[in-house]
Amino acid sequence: MLVFFYLFAAAAVLGALGVLLLRNPVYCALSLVATMSALGGVFILLNQEFVAAIQILIYAGAIMVLFLFVIMLLNLRSDEQFIARWNPGKVVGIAMALVILAQLVGVFTSASATLGPAGEYPAERIAKEGAVEIVGGLLVTQYVLPFEVASILLMVAIIGAVVIAKRQIAKPSQEGR
């Protein structure tokens, strides 16, 4: 089990580094797919098949396909236009990232970093009743308000996308007249 964990974890980290370091945006997006899929593997090791499936379907599948569509539609000629060369800002940024990494390692390896009390749904109960049933039930009972309000959030995002995209379609036609 541990071997698989390290395998998936290494794949996730390598994928994340690829997103940062590769020059071609399409390769970056594909690296992100690798990271998301590897995270799905980690969820399976944690006996969370449902979360793993959702992770693969939504992140590695739907969202990444959209990313790739957008990148390809933008039709970037030079791969490097988003990648800045070395500059002081980048050095400071990397230094800060390393500080945050060191802090997080410190936090999670500390002996007193314990998880809070387990909730009403330990792994055995999930295995018995089924993750989909439990998550689905909670979404329409205990968490019905956040669930419903999330639909408002999605609608706001869609309206925003339409408002912004609409005018980019309208603009060339106005210029053409």
Partner: protein
């Protein structure tokens, strides 16, 4: 598992529901609207805000909670909700002519304002991290879109993109902080988090501290505290002016509201630690905000940096803690809403699509061309400075007095010194309007009259003067409404 929704559940989110529903009605109406004229939608939005305010008012004093306690209509939420409704109403008033003149006739503008207002109300009335987060995101996404509303204007696009990228980054920090807090305490509900944090073995858990730090970073971005303020001037300058007026008051009030609730109701046991961090942030925010505001020639940028400085003053009260200070926060938020919206309303009234008047130079000799408007601007500037008989003075007095009472003398001294520095750039506006001769490139012109804008300016000026001359009533209400918060935590 049996589960039923009672009337109280629906009542507790009634004001928000009205805004969300009316936002959709505005969208539907736009389809049948007459092209670019969206004025009717503006009046419909005002009506929705009024109805929502009425619903909110009816909830006062009933102590209704809903959805298993995750929504509470306590006085704190109701008072803040009223402030949001008022700000958004003022913004709708100042937007009508601006949008009409520039042909930015999207009915979505008003719908997004209503959604943002609902999101803010949800943020401050919710007592679990999940709902707070969703409310915050509704507000944030609406704000990103509002910033980029002007067609083909590169600065507006830059503003939206910058705000979106940095905002998304900040959201990541905030969410990570909430997750760590959940991991360490096993709950997303503030009362249960408070109960967990009260036990000393949980308090030794580094995950709590890292979570607290990340939450402070996330909110620091959203309410533009130094050192997380870099995005503010560019976003505020590029956004359409009514949107800038909105961004600089309402979302900050909402951010402060949610932050106060998390820090007092959830993490009250950690007060000695977070107040030390915020002490430094408050001192930095006031000083850096004022120092940068001094150098600006663009009034929108000046007001952007001044909003950072004012966030610093409000943070002083949060550091001091206790009823009087937190009551002072609510008082200051309302006072700032009036004076800030008022100042922006004057800028919008003086500008036209042909000629944006946003630099100091544009207002040379303005006091003799538009005496009434210039006088209103004087009132707003004096109030932002904190001159007696204005709302700004009453607010600062309450904040600094309660900070000194709590023993934070040095922080109060830094705040007072900063107020003195701010005199320079606020009075510069008055000097330019009354004591400098207009030049050929900047001829003063009479403004094109607009009733909604006059109403907004007059209402803001009256609000500033009323709160300045008779602060007692609102102050008492503010102090009373934070009491439940402290008792709960």
């Amino acid at each position: 598992m049996s589960f039923t929704l009672s009337a109280a559940d629906f009542l507790s989110v009634l004001p928000e529901s009205i805004l969300f529903a009316m936002g959709m009605v505005v969208l539907v109406f736009e389809m049948f609207g007459t092209g670019r004229d969206t004025r009717n939608l503006a009046y419909l939005s005002l009506l929705s805000l009024l109805v929502s305010g009425f619903a909110l008012h009816r909830l006062a004093g009933r102590g209704i909670t809903g959805f298993g306690g995750s929504i509470t209509a306590d006085p704190f939420a109701i008072v803040l909700g009223m402030i949001f409704l008022l700000v958004v109403a003022l913004i709708v008033l100042v937007s009508i002519r601006y949008l009409h003149d520039r042909g930015v006739g999207h009915g979505e503008y008003y719908a997004l304002l209503l959604f943002a207002c609902g999101g803010m109300m949800l943020m401050v009335s919710s007592t679990d991290l999940l709902t707070i987060f969703i409310g915050l995101e509704i507000l944030s996404i609406s704000s990103y879109v509002l910033c980029g509303l002007i067609q083909g204007d590169l600065r507006s696009n830059e503003s939206a993109l910058k705000y979106f990228l940095l905002g998304a980054f900040a959201t990541g920090f905030l969410l990570y902080g909430m997750v760590l807090l959940y991991g360490a305490t096993g709950s997303i509900r503030l009362p249960e988090i408070a109960a967990a944090v009260n036990r000393s073995e949980v308090r030794g858990n580094p995950m709590i501290w890292y979570g607290l730090g990340l939450i402070l970073v996330g909110f620091g971005f959203k309410i533009a505290l130094v050192p997380f303020h870099m995005w503010t001037p560019d976003v505020y300058e590029g956004a359409p002016t009514p949107v800038t007026a909105f961004l600089s008051s309402a979302p900050k009030a909402a951010g402060f509201g949610a932050l106060i609730r998390i820090l007092t109701e959830g993490l009250g046991a950690l007060t000695p630690e977070w107040s030390q961090v915020l002490w430094v942030v408050a001192a930095l925010t006031m000083t850096v905000g004022n120092a940068l505001a001094l150098q600006q020639d663009n009034i929108k940028r000046m007001l952007a940096y001044s909003s950072i400085a004012h966030a610093g003053y409000i943070l002083v009260a949060l550091v001091a803690g206790g009823r009087d200070s937190l009551g002072g926060v609510l008082f200051y938020l309302l006072a700032y809403a009036f004076m800030n919206s008022g100042a922006f309303a004057v800028l919008i009234l003086a500008s036209s699509p042909v000629r944006e008047r946003v630099t100091f130079e544009d207002y040379r000799g303005y006091g003799y061309v538009e005496p009434a408007l210039a006088l209103a601007m004087v009132v707003f500037m004096l109030s932002l400075t904190g001159i007696p008989l204005t709302a700004g003075f009453a607010g600062k007095f309450q904040i600094f007095k309660s900070a000194i009472d709590k023993g934070y003398v040095w922080l109060a001294v830094i705040g007072l010194l900063n107020s003195v520095v701010s005199v320079y750039y606020y009075l510069r506006m008055i000097v330019v309007m009354y004591m400098q001769r207009p030049t050929a490139e900047h001829p003063p012109e009479r403004v094109v009259p607009s009733v909604p804008l006059y109403v907004a300016v007059a209402a803001s000026a009256l609000g500033v003067l009323y709160l300045g001359v008779f602060p007692a009533g609102w102050l008492e209400l503010s102090v009373r409404s934070v009491t439940s918060l402290l008792a709960g935590g």
